[in-house]
Amino acid sequence: MKLHVHLSPDWILDTEMREYRQSDEVDFCIVGCGAGGGVLAQRLARFGFSVVVLEAGQWHDTEDDMVSDEAGSGSLFWNDLRIVGGADPLELGANNSGRGVGGSTVHFAGFCPRLHPSDFRVRSHDGVAVDWPIDYEQIEPYYQTMEREYPVSGPACYPWGKPHGYPYAPLQAGSAGQKLIEGCVNLGIPVVAGGAVAIPAGAVGKRPHCIQRGFCLLGCKVGAKSSTMNSHVPDAVAHGAEIRTGCMAFDVPVEERGLVRAVRYHRTLNDGAVIEEEQRAKAVVVAGYAIESPRLLLNSTSSRFPDGLANSSGVVGKFLMAQAGPVVWGRFDEMIRQYKSPPACAMTEEFYETDPRNDFVRGYALQTVSPLPIAMSHLLISEGGVYGEALLRRMQEYNHYACVGVLGEILPDERNTVSLHPTEKDQFGQPVPYVRFNLFENDRKLMAAGIARAQQVLVAAGARETHAVNRYAHLVGTCRMGANPRESVVDQWCRSWDVPNLFVCDGSVMPTQGSSNPAITISALAARTADWIRQEAPNGGLTRRSGSAAHA
């Protein structure tokens, strides 16, 4: 079919996209086209595999579909119903959920820090959570590759985790970011301007430079900010992958020999009609992120897998982690105008690691965030439901606020879950996800410490008063990878322990989350999985599980 999609003002993806028949047994059917699925599709297509990506949403044409307007940007987010509960229910549907080609990378702020080496050994070092089945060194080359392919900008000498440099120069920080920098400097806290952010200070390929518009969280109309929609998916299409939009998967049937051979999905046509289709494939990759991936697996029941596909461990849907994301704002006498410049522009990871002086383990990062007016009003309202003149007066200080986001590590807990709701159904008649979330003691202490630190930084920068509300971002963990099939859903290659030709390739495989925004880690894991597939598929590695493949 003919594609005609703006990816920036003068870069139109104007090309013929290969289309497969449902009866074609393609090599890979990938469900979801975000940070994981988009990169994996590009890699597999380049390696010569036939690839169909089923994406529930649509292409986001930067000129016609994205708008420079907060209230008008709802279509970027996953807006299908989810029920939330638990002691600390998560708000969904905005910052933590994308829909359409590029997934959440279309509307992420762009922070792309790596995990630290310690993140892979939390159980060994801190006696909590679990270790990853891999070490930092095994993902490091993929971080380096992804930082060039996104690309990611940042300082030449990034001091935290395993120190490294970034290949592209960062943008100048706006006034709000300079407050974070100033406060940290005044306190002697190491801080980097430019962060690790997927917006370089110049043009890259067909993508122009940033115009400092500040609407990053509502999609980049300029195409300066990286998303897999502009970094990897065009290359996937050029190498023969089909991105089939408007397709919502609901079942991955398993056949007698214990392999999967197709994905069943509902396809919404241009006229709004919904039809049921089934794409045959030699292997299936589930890449729908931490809610939709476990939902699809749990919904794919069979006599072989009565509790959901690939769920012999019973772990699918468990150990959901949101990242702690309290927002702290300070009011300054001077003008800030936080709406200018990308919100992601400065950060410190000085408090990332476990510090024995703390009464909690693990840590947090401080990053710039700059809410637009509606988001800012929602923060203010969170302080006790403030309304009326009090709300209007506080909102009139909008240009005097600088905000700092605390990005903190919440530990995995079996009681934080994604399950199928017993009664509520979606527009296709499928059970909606039920997302239950609770904070535990370490989480609360860590968040309080992060808030206190952010307030200290803002005061050191000259804030007259500070306020804070708890927020959450980045959902991971519900199909965790691990070293053995009893306690995890996938192995270190993101391959199901139970089903040799089934993969999960998104944030849900992360056993812990660190205090790093997960997109670059998800993409790096996808690239690593692709390399394993390239090596093992010709030897029949996708039809059986051999000891050597499992523990390589």
Binding site: P9, E63, D64, V67, S68, D69, E70, A71, G72, G74, F77, W78, N79, D80, L81, R82, I83, V84, G85, P89, L90, S97, Q172, G174, S175, Q178, I211, Q212, R213, G214, F215, K221, V222, M335, I336, R337, Y339, K340, S341, L372, P373, I374, M376, S377, H378, I381, S382, G385, Y387, G388, E389, L391, L392, R393, M395, Q396, Y398, N399, Y434, V435
Partner: protein, 198 residues
């Protein structure tokens, strides 16, 4: 009283510097106010009065007031509900129950319909809901605090701060594509932005 701190701010005046898609969305919001379809009678009257409390606009000239209630009505007609707390009903039902609940609370506290109460008594009703333990059967089946924050105030404020007149009030410049920004330091304004008068 809310003062006009940005005397030269006029986001709408910059419309010719916006891209087509954005201009369509924002101008449609400003000039095409939807008719009431979902709420009528007492519920509609309660909603309109509630809006004057959440976002009071008496400081504005009548022609510069932002219509709020019609958009809440529209929201209930074209529901997009990305998530729902497991102790809440669907969003449009939450609106119906909440508006009925305001009435129940007003009747139980003052034996008078909410819209007929003097303003301080209306405030007392709303403060009861905001505080989380207002009288009324509705509030036994729906948490009042949750309704107040997530349904009433957030959604009404969301309508307000989507409007160019509200942007002018807080000194936000509005859409910024394709022009972008060049004055990035020290909170500087662009030539087309208003200075602040404190």
């Amino acid at each position: 009283m809310v003062r006009n701190r940005y005397p030269r701010a006029d986001a709408l005046e910059q419309r010719n510097h916006w891209d087509d898609a954005t201009r369509r969305v924002v101008l449609d919001r400003v000039y095409n106010i939807p008719e009431f379809k979902h709420f009528a009678g007492q519920r509609r009257a309660t909603l309109e009065t509630l809006c004057t409390h959440v976002i009071p606009q008496t400081h504005r000239a009548p022609e510069r007031r932002v219509p709020l209630a019609p958009w809440i009505d529209d929201l209930c007609e074209h529901e997009v509900e990305a998530f729902r707390f497991d102790d809440m009903p669907p969003n449009h039902v939450a609106w119906e129950w909440g508006l009925d609940g305001i009435e129940q609370t007003a009747e139980l506290m003052f034996d008078t319909p909410f819209v007929e109460l003097e303003r301080p008594r209306q405030v007392a009703v709303l403060e009861g809901i905001r505080g989380g333990t207002p009288p009324g059967e509705v509030w036994q089946r729906m948490p009042a605090k949750r309704w107040w924050e997530f349904v009433a105030v957030r959604q009404i404020a969301g309508v307000y701060y989507a409007h160019p007149y509200a942007w002018d009030e807080i000194g936000f410049g509005g859409p910024a594509y394709p022009r972008g920004y060049l004055s990035l330091n020290h909170g500087d304004r662009e030539p087309w932005e208003s200075e602040e008068v404190r």
